[in-house]
C-alpha cells in the first residue's frame, strides 16, 4: 500500500466495512477487514464488478447478507464522495440488536436507521433493498393477488384481511414464568421418543467393542485385554419446528406460546420458530440473539403478527422452504386456533407434505382447552386426519401436560 490510489482504496474499504457492521450488524472484525484488503489486492481493482465479487465473498456469510451487501456496495462505490467518519453504533438500551441482517424485517431497520446515521450522504443507498423486501402496497393491488399462488410474497397480502395487520406492533415478553416454561419444555423433549443416533460414543455397555480404548487399557495389563470398552448409540436429540399463529384471534395465547417457543429454544439445540399471520416471518435469529435472563424482545413483525390468519398458504410456504431441514428427527408443532380464512385444500396439501417428512406433527390449539370444545373450525376439521396429535394449549398447565399427553 504505497501508492496514494491504493491507500485511498484501502480507506474506502475500511469505511465501507464499518458501515456494513454498524448499520446492518454484519459480523466484521479486524480479521475480515484485513482479508478484505488482501482480497482487493488479489483482483483487478479497475473492474468494479470484480472488487464487488471479492468483497462480497469476504464480508458476507449468507444470501440475505449478500443482498444487503450488493445494495450498499452500489450506493457506496458508485458515488465517490468524500468519506465521512464511520457512524457511531446505536446507543445502548435500544430495542433490538444493531441492524437486521435478514431482509424479512426491513421495517425495523428502516425505522432505526434514521437515528445515528442521519445526514449520511450514502444513507439513501439502502432504499432499493428495502423496496425489494417490502413496500406498502395499495390495497387494490393486494386484493388482485390470487390467494392460492404460493409465489406471492406474504407482505403483499398484508392488509388483505385485516386493517391492523400492518400495524403489527412490538412483541415483548416478561421473564416471570420462564422457569415454569423451561420445565414444560424439558418434559416435552423427554417425551419425544426418537430412534438412536448414528454416531458411536463411549458407553459403559454397548453393542460394539471400542478397539482403541480397549487396546490402550490393555497397555496397563501387559497387553492382555482384561478391561473391555464399549461403544453405543445414544438417543437422538429431537429437532423442533414451531409454527406460531400470531393472528389477532390468538390474543394472549400467542404471547404465551411465543414464550414457550423461547423456553424450548433454550432447552433444545435445534429449534426453528416461525410466526405467521397473513405473512410469514422466521423468528429463530431473534430468539438466538436474546441474552440469557433478558426479556425476549422482537421487532415489528409486520404481516406476521396481529393480522388475520392464512394458515394454509403459510404452512405450504414453510413446508417448501424448510423442506431440506425436515427429517425423521423433526417434531413439527403448529400453534394455532384454526380460525382460518384460507382454502382448506391448501392446508391439507401443506400438512401432507410436512407429515411425509417430519417425525411427529402436532397441532396445539388454545381453544381446545375450553370446556366442551368441538373441533369444528374448518381448518382444524381438514387437518385432523393428517395430524399425529391435536392437543390443547391454553395455559401453563396444558403446556406442562404436553409431554404426558403426547406419550399416550
Amino acid at each position: 500500500m504505497t501508492s496514494p490510489g491504493l491507500a485511498q482504496l484501502s480507506a474506502q474499504v475500511r469505511a465501507f466495512a464499518a458501515q456494513l457492521r454498524f448499520r446492518h450488524g454484519f459480523l466484521i472484525g479486524p480479521g475480515e477487514i484485513r482479508d478484505a484488503l488482501r482480497a482487493v489486492q488479489a483482483v483487478d481493482v479497475l473492474q468494479v464488478a470484480q472488487v464487488q465479487d471479492a468483497l462480497r465473498a469476504v464480508l458476507t456469510t449468507s444470501p440475505a447478507e449478500a443482498r444487503v451487501f450488493d445494495a450498499e456496495f452500489g450506493a457506496f462505490f458508485r458515488r465517490p464522495a468524500e468519506l465521512p467518519p464511520p457512524p457511531l453504533p446505536p446507543a445502548p438500551g435500544g430495542q433490538a440488536a444493531p441492524g437486521e441482517p435478514s431482509p424479512p424485517e426491513p421495517t425495523a431497520r428502516a425505522g432505526k436507521k434514521t437515528g445515528p446515521v442521519q445526514g449520511h450522504p450514502q444513507s439513501s443507498g439502502e432504499d432499493p433493498a428495502d423496496e425489494d423486501a417490502i413496500s406498502p402496497q395499495a390495497p387494490g393491488r393486494a386484493l388482485e393477488n390470487a390467494p392460492d399462488d404460493p409465489d406471492t410474497p406474504p407482505q403483499v397480502l398484508r392488509a388483505r384481511l385485516s386493517p391492523h395487520a400492518g400495524a403489527g406492533g412490538r412483541v415483548q415478553t416478561e421473564v416471570d414464568d420462564l422457569p415454569e416454561l423451561l420445565r414444560a419444555a424439558s418434559a416435552l423433549i423427554r417425551a419425544v421418543e426418537l430412534g438412536r443416533a448414528r454416531r458411536l460414543r463411549p458407553r459403559p455397555h454397548g453393542p460394539k467393542l471400542d478397539a482403541r480404548r480397549t487396546l490402550r487399557a490393555a497397555a496397563r495389563t501387559a497387553g492382555d485385554a482384561a478391561l473391555l470398552k464399549w461403544l453405543g448409540r445414544p438417543r437422538r436429540a429431537p429437532r423442533f419446528l414451531l409454527m406460531l399463529d400470531g393472528s389477532r384471534s390468538m390474543g394472549q395465547s400467542a404471547a404465551l406460546l411465543l414464550r414457550f417457543a423461547f423456553a424450548l429454544h433454550l432447552r433444545a439445540r435445534r429449534v426453528e420458530v416461525y410466526a405467521f399471520s397473513t405473512g410469514l416471518t422466521r423468528l429463530t435469529p431473534h430468539l438466538r440473539r436474546a441474552g440469557p435472563g433478558q426479556p425476549l424482545a422482537l421487532p415489528d413483525l409486520g404481516a406476521a403478527w396481529g393480522g388475520g390468519t392464512r394458515i394454509g398458504d403459510n404452512l405450504l410456504r414453510l413446508a417448501r422452504e424448510e423442506r431440506d431441514r425436515l427429517n425423521r428427527d423433526t417434531v413439527v408443532l403448529i400453534l394455532s386456533d384454526g380460525l382460518d380464512t384460507g382454502d382448506p385444500e391448501v392446508l391439507i396439501r401443506a400438512l401432507r407434505d410436512l407429515r411425509a417428512r417430519a417425525g411427529l406433527l402436532v397441532w396445539l390449539s388454545p381453544l381446545a382447552a375450553l370446556p366442551g370444545y368441538q373441533p369444528v373450525q374448518r381448518a382444524v376439521q381438514a387437518a385432523l386426519p393428517h395430524l399425529d396429535a391435536f392437543l390443547p394449549a391454553g395455559s401453563l398447565g396444558d403446556l406442562h401436560a404436553l409431554g404426558r399427553r403426547l406419550r399416550r
Binding site: 482479508d35 488482501r38 488479489a42 464488478a49 449478500a66 482403541r212
Partner: protein
C-alpha cells in the same frame, strides 16, 4: 494459478460465473477456505474438481454424513495389525515398545490427515458439510484454523503445504457463525439461460443447437414453478444426454414423455408441471 481462471475452467467444460471465479481466485490468493452454498445440482462439487485440475494438484474429498466422526475423517490405528504385531513379538521373545506399536505403518490416514501431509497444496473438498453434526463442525474449525493435527501417540503433525479448501452445503442445517466466519462465502445460483446454453455446448459438444435451446428454455420454465425438487444443471445435462441417447433432436410431446424422469424426479412435481409441459410441447410443435 492461470491468469484467466474463467478460461481455464471453460477449457475443462466448466462454465463458471464471474463471482464464483473471483471467489476461487481468492481461495488461492488468501489461503482461506471457501464455503459454497446453493441448490442441489448447480455444480458446487464439480467446481472443486475442476479447480484441482486447473491447479494441477490432487483432489482429496471428504464426503460428510450423519455420524461422521474424527476417526473416519482424520486417522485410525490399524488395531488388527497392531495385535498381530504384538503376538508375533511375543512369540519371538522380542520386547515391544510404544514406538514399535504406534509407527506410521499402523496409521491409516483418512482424508483430512492425508490433505495435511501432502508435499504440494492439494484441493480439499469437504462435501455437504451440513450433513455432519455440530460436533464434527467444531472439530473442523480447529483444523481449518491451525492446520495441525495432534495424534496423541505421534505428536503434532503440521501441514507442510496448506490445502485449498472448498466446503459445500445444501443448507439442510444452519451452519454455525464460527464456521462461516472462517470461510469466504459464495452463493451459487442456477445459471442464466445463456450460461446454461454455454454449459450444454461445453459438456455435450455434439448437441444440436435447436435442441439445446429447447432444453434450456424448458428447464427454465420448470424452475419457475413451485416444485418440490427443481431441476439443477446436472438434470439439464442428464436430460440432454438422454435425448441424445434416444436420437431425438426435437423436444416434442413424445420426446418429453419419454425423458421426463430425467428432469422431474417427484411424482407430485410431474403432475404439477403437466400444464407447463403441455405448453412447451405445443410451442415446440408449432415452431
Amino acid at each position: 494459478m492461470p491468469l484467466d481462471l474463467a478460461a481455464a475452467f471453460r477449457e475443462r467444460g466448466y462454465v463458471a460465473g464471474d463471482a464464483l471465479v473471483t471467489a476461487l481466485r481468492l481461495v488461492v490468493a488468501l489461503g482461506k477456505p471457501l464455503l459454497l452454498e446453493g441448490p442441489a445440482g448447480v455444480g458446487k462439487t464439480e467446481a472443486a474438481k475442476t479447480l484441482a485440475e486447473v491447479l494441477g494438484t490432487r483432489l482429496i474429498r471428504l464426503q460428510c454424513y450423519e455420524g461422521l466422526d474424527a476417526q473416519a475423517a482424520l486417522y485410525e490405528w490399524n488395531y488388527a495389525r497392531q495385535l498381530l504385531h504384538l503376538r508375533a513379538a511375543e512369540a519371538g521373545g522380542r520386547p515391544v515398545t510404544d514406538e514399535d506399536l504406534y509407527g506410521p505403518q499402523f496409521l491409516m490416514q483418512r482424508p483430512l490427515l492425508e490433505a495435511i501431509r501432502q508435499p504440494t497444496s492439494p484441493v480439499l473438498l469437504i462435501d455437504e458439510v451440513d450433513r455432519a453434526d455440530e460436533a464434527f463442525e467444531a472439530f473442523l474449525l480447529e483444523l481449518l484454523a491451525e492446520w495441525q493435527v495432534t495424534v496423541p501417540e505421534l505428536g503434532t503433525l503440521r501441514a507442510t503445504a496448506r490445502p485449498h479448501v472448498l466446503l459445500t452445503s445444501n443448507r439442510s442445517r444452519e451452519l454455525s457463525d464460527a464456521l462461516r466466519r472462517r470461510c469466504l462465502y459464495q452463493w451459487v445460483e442456477y445459471p442464466s439461460a445463456a450460461q446454461e446454453l454455454d454449459i450444454l455446448r461445453a459438456r455435450l459438444p455434439g448437441i444440436d443447437e435447436a435442441l439445446a435451446r429447447q432444453v434450456t428454455a424448458a428447464v427454465h420454465a420448470l424452475r419457475a414453478l413451485p416444485l418440490g425438487k427443481p431441476p439443477g444443471v446436472a438434470e439439464t445435462l442428464d436430460w440432454a444426454a438422454a435425448l441424445l441417447a434416444l436420437h431425438r433432436d426435437w423436444l416434442d410431446a413424445p420426446a418429453l414423455e419419454a425423458t421426463l424422469g430425467a428432469v422431474l424426479k417427484l411424482h407430485e412435481d410431474q403432475r404439477l408441471a403437466r400444464p407447463t409441459l403441455d405448453r412447451i410441447a405445443a410451442h415446440n410443435a408449432g415452431a
